[in-house]
């Protein structure tokens, strides 16, 4: 049962093959059994979930159910949930009970989705391995000695292990796509502004986006129908006409063009990954797609630009964590300065502190122009590169990551080495484009992800391309069927 997709579940519920309560109980059992090992959840909500499931079943009995009523889901612990702990993976918010719901949560509730719990994540969404969580690392279900990726590692692992049929994640530099690749699931980062950031704890405001993490592209489309939409409470939210993201799933890909950036393929990538990508591209050719070589000359500038802009924004966004109105406060502060210094010094983990410090530095007097303004200019260059590319092609393809899931406690040592793994995903956030990662192979039983980048607001086309691909192979079904030890 736990291998059912959202589409399967929706159908099963509609046809009364099972109830939402049964379904929810099933997932809760699996969580209880396997999550001590995986550590993909920070908070599990059995009572809350079952109450929601019951209500969903009642609605269905009254013929008032919507397409996803009663379908269980897990939410990354970055979304504020009223009356429920929202930790953002940090000691700083370990005691934080959110007083309101994020828009993503409100929409999920309104759609009748049943919240199983809040998933583990890298602290304040900073990290690529989910080893930066106050609540301990998450294990990759495919290999418990390896990372699931980050920062949405908990969500990815939970879906991969069948502890939830789908989950929400957030992506600032790759945090949905990279863990999706490492765990063998589908992860979509929508166009910037598609999904409301209200209630989504901010890391880097101009880069953050929430999105679905699912077993299939079809499921991602179903979830996008719930999550996307204009929200007046978010000034950066975009007004677009209402869209059914599943409408174009089955459309033919004949005539579509996929661009292959020379700069992506010039980089060192795992040979297994390279061959998996090449095979995937051949599959696309069979679907009628033309492959086109393109140039993205600014590729190597993306990481430096990101590591100026993201830390700069986060250094300011995280200033509100000061021990005054909520969150962690150090014991017996001697004076105000001590309150700030120790609450923040003790409440934040190392990676978060590193990024705040770099961010503070690049914004400081004398460095602002050379770093921050320069990075913003490079950002425009990157955006121009992609705009230029999309005049020639419909999608841009490449590997999601240069390697498969790396071992726990390995790359954790040097931050910069870790950052360099973001090479394929990071420019997408800088440009604000939508992008999806889908499984396209395995290497030594570890999943490999193919990334497709689309033009602004082309999620339906991306999902279409992903769906058609998923209909020609079983890579997305290489999820755990055996128990996790």
């Amino acid at each position: 049962m736990h291998r059912k997709t959202l589409a399967d579940i929706a159908q099963g519920l509609a046809q009364k093959e099972f109830s939402s309560v049964e379904l929810t109980e099933n997932y809760l059992r699996r969580i209880a059994e396997f999550d001590r090992t995986l550590n993909s959840f920070i908070t599990v909500l059995p009572e809350h979930a079952l109450a929601q499931a019951k209500q969903a079943d009642q609605l269905r009995a009254q013929n008032k159910a919507g397409p996803l009523t009663g379908v269980p889901i897990a939410h990354k612990d970055i979304f504020c949930t009223t009356g429920i702990k929202t930790s953002c993976g940090s000691k700083m918010l370990d005691n934080f009970i959110a007083p309101y719901n994020a828009t993503v949560i409100e929409k999920s509730h309104a759609a009748g989705l049943v919240m199983l719990g809040k998933t583990n994540m890298d602290e304040f969404a900073m990290g690529s391995s989910n080893e930066n969580s106050f609540y301990g690392p998450v294990k990759n279900p495919h290999d418990l000695n390896r990372v699931p990726g980050g920062s949405s590692g908990g969500s990815a692992a939970a879906v991969a292990a069948g502890l939830a049929p789908a989950a929400t994640g957030t992506d600032t530099g790759g945090s949905i796509r990279q863990p999706a690749a490492f765990c063998g699931i589908t992860g979509l980062k929508p166009t910037y502004g598609r999904v409301s950031r209200w209630g989504m704890i901010a890391f880097a405001s101009s880069l953050d986006q929430a999105g679905p993490m699912t077993q299939t592209a079809e499921d991602a489309a179903l979830l996008m129908n719930v999550l996307a939409g204009f929200d007046a409470k978010d000034s950066t939210s975009i007004h677009k006409p209402s869209e059914d993201f599943t409408a174009k799933l089955k459309t033919s890909l004949v005539g579509k063009k996929i661009g292959l950036p020379r700069q992506f393929f010039a980089h060192n990538m795992d040979s297994a990954i390279e061959s998996a990508i090449q095979n995937a591209l051949k599959d696309y050719e069979k679907l009628g797609v033309t492959l086109v070589d393109i140039d993205l000359p600014t590729t190597d500038l993306a990481i430096p630009a990101y590591y100026v802009i993201a830390p700069a924004e986060c250094s300011s966004n995280l200033s509100r964590y000061d021990g005054v109105r909520f969150g962690y406060r150090c014991k017996n502060p001697a004076d105000l300065e001590d309150l700030y210094m120790r609450s923040r010094g003790e409440g934040f983990g190392h990676e978060v502190k590193r990024r705040i410090l770099i961010g503070t530095y690049v914004l400081s007097a004398g460095y602002y122009d050379a770093y921050y303004v320069q990075a913003q200019k490079v950002r425009r260059l990157i955006k121009q590169d992609y705009e230029q590319a999309f005049r020639q092609v419909d999608f841009i393809a490449g590997p999601t990551t240069p390697t498969t899931a790396f071992p726990l406690n390995n790359k954790n040592v040097d931050p910069v080495t870790m950052y360099l793994n973001d090479i394929y995903t990071i420019a997408v956030n800088l440009a604000g484009l939508p992008s999806i990662s889908i499984p396209c192979g395995m290497s030594q039983q570890l999943p490999i992800g193919l990334q497709l980048i689309g033009n602004y607001f082309s999620e339906s086309d991306l999902l279409n391309a992903a769906h058609r691909f998923q209909q020609t192979n079983d890579w997305h079904k290489q999820l755990l069927t055996q128990s996790i030890r």
Binding site: T236, D335, A375, V378, R380
Partner: protein
């Protein structure tokens, strides 16, 4: 680009983050490495390019001037670290 420990201490003070003496060396090393990474931006061809803040170059939407919030002080303060008579308390500040 290298920072020294003194510079790192100053940045930490600006950011109000206490760093243990034993950790300062590591932070200094890490930050220096990151700066070396981001120094790669210096050679980028940015002449005549204007900075890009919001990726979609939107402009600000306006909100009507109406009061939509009600008093929720108790709800917001029930988990606050320290309050009294409705005020948030911090160690005495001398101006």
């Amino acid at each position: 680009m290298f920072l020294d420990e003194h510079q790192v201490s100053n940045i930490a003070l600006l950011a109000r983050i206490a760093i243990n003496q034993k950790d300062i060396g590591d932070y200094t090393q890490d930050l220096s490495n990151i700066l070396t990474l981001i120094d790669q931006l210096q050679n980028a061809p940015t002449a005549n390019i204007s900075p890009l803040s919001n990726p979609l170059e939107q402009s600000q939407r306006l909100r009507p001037d109406t009061v939509t919030e009600t008093n929720q002080r108790d709800q917001f303060q029930c988990h606050a670290p320290l309050t009294e008579q409705g005020l948030y308390l911090v160690p005495r500040v001398i101006e």
